[in-house]
């Protein structure tokens, strides 16, 4: 049975870095944890998702051809199960947030400037739009239609709460950062600055570190 090995690149997408499969899986795990703990929907990582699925499908094909009960095959299968779990969990996290904040997620995507990274993958965007339409139709049919004229509209954007960016998160520092400004809770406290040493772990408001999560300088845990 042929084993996959070595590095690869996606020549169609020029933003794709040259990455080994091991690094790819590492990136998937990072994205998984970040998405799990971030209160808002993060930038989509479609290229990682697609490459991982490619790896899984390739491995699955190889496994089909392998001898039944082969030890090597069971080892590969255990690994693919683990990777598939991380991938599924990652995509589920995203879907949950898309559904939870659907008017805001769509608004953000619509008002995105040309060239700015997309938050939703094309498939997620289609899903989000359908979710919006479906939910709006439901509310209209089940309640609003029967109500007096001046009560018939509901502004979903105003009604559905936005993600709480002030929630606290735990993180590990990957790239040293200096002078992170920490805003105080009460009026008596003053704002102060902290340094993020590489490898250190912190508890802090998400809002303060949101750009660092996006850039990969910190990892949410």
């Amino acid at each position: 049975m042929a084993d996959t090995m070595g590095g690869f690149s996606d020549s169609e997408d020029e933003s794709q870095e040259l990455m080994t499969p091991a690094q790819l899986i590492g990136k998937l795990e990072e994205a998984w944890l970040n998405e799990k703990f971030a209160p808002e929907l993060l930038e989509n990582k479609s290229e990682i998702v697609e490459c991982v699925m490619e790896q899984l499908n390739h491995m699955e094909e190889n496994l089909q051809r392998s001898k039944k009960g082969d030890l090597r095959a069971t080892i590969h299968r255990m690994e693919t199960e683990r990777i598939r779990y991380v991938l599924s969990s990652y995509l589920r996290s995203r879907l949950q947030k898309i559904e939870k904040y659907f008017p805001h997620v769509l608004e953000k995507e619509k008002s995105r400037a040309e060239g700015e990274p997309s938050y939703l993958s094309p498939e997620e965007y289609a899903f989000a739009k359908e979710y919006y339409a479906n939910t709006e139709t439901f509310l209209k049919n089940v309640a609003l239609k029967s109500m007096p004229p001046n009560l018939q509209t509901v502004d979903l954007g105003k009604s559905v709460p936005k993600p709480n960016l002030d929630s606290f998160v735990f993180l590990r520092v990957k790239e040293r950062q200096e002078n992170i400004l920490v805003e105080p809770e009460t009026d008596e406290q003053r704002e102060y600055a902290v340094d993020f040493e590489e490898g250190s772990q912190h508890l802090i408001r998400y809002r303060t570190v949101a750009p660092l999560v996006a850039s990969g300088a910190v990892q949410l845990i």
């Binding site: 697609e50 479906n134 049919n141 009560l151």
Partner: protein, 199 residues
């Protein structure tokens, strides 16, 4: 008293246990709407009369009804909120039960909720099919991290020979217990031949 019905509905929905979907109270909601409609129409009439006849003595009544209407409106807003909460519970059902809901649960849903559920599962299916450049991935599976690939099973019926690792075979006799690869057992577990023994 005006608004009582709306409040009662909200209480009823909030009383339901977490995650449970109580039956849809069609009568209740219709009564609230009828009350709102009656209030609104009465108000309109009085406003017109007050305007044309100069009936300023009607104004306190109009104000009172308007307050009731506003209160009802807030109740409805809260009820919409609870409707939405029901929707979230219905959404959770797709992830817990799959795309076919148990009959008992379906009876608790009104027609519009069923329609929402059908649309939702269609959207989800489309999304999942489109993953990975069209290969698709069922993300409603693999809900828990994979544990040991081997599981302890007990044989519930005589099955005969069963081939496992390295070509070796084992004999599945009723009540025998074995330590086997999970994926090989899954079908037999579903068929009722084997039973997973939790340690």
């Amino acid at each position: 008293m005006f608004c009582e019905k709306a409040i009662e509905l909200i209480r009823e929905l909030k009383r339901a246990a977490d995650g449970q979907l109580p039956a849809f109270n069609e009568d209740g909601i219709r009564q609230v709407f009828e009350e709102m409609k009656a209030l609104y129409e009465q108000n309109q009439m009085d406003v017109n009369v007050a305007k044309s006849d100069g009936r300023s003595d009607l104004i306190p009544t109009i104000k009172f009804r308007h307050c009731c209407l506003l209160r009802n409106q807030r109740c409805i807003a809260a009820y919409l909120c609870v409707f939405y909460d029901r929707l979230l519970r219905i959404r959770a059902l797709r992830w817990e039960y799959g795309s076919v809901l148990p009959t008992a649960i379906r009876f608790h849903m009104c027609a519009e909720e069923l329609e929402w559920f059908n649309q939702y599962k269609k959207s989800l299916a489309t999304y999942m099919r489109s993953l990975g450049g069209g290969g698709g991935l069922d993300i409603t599976q693999d809900m828990k991290p994979p544990k040991s690939l081997y599981i302890e099973v007990r044989c519930l019926k005589d099955y005969g020979e069963f081939e496992i690792d390295d070509g070796t075979t084992i004999l599945l006799k009723k009540n025998s217990q074995h330590f086997l690869p999970r994926w090989k057992c899954e079908q037999l577990i579903r068929q009722g031949v084997l039973e997973h023994v939790m340690s």
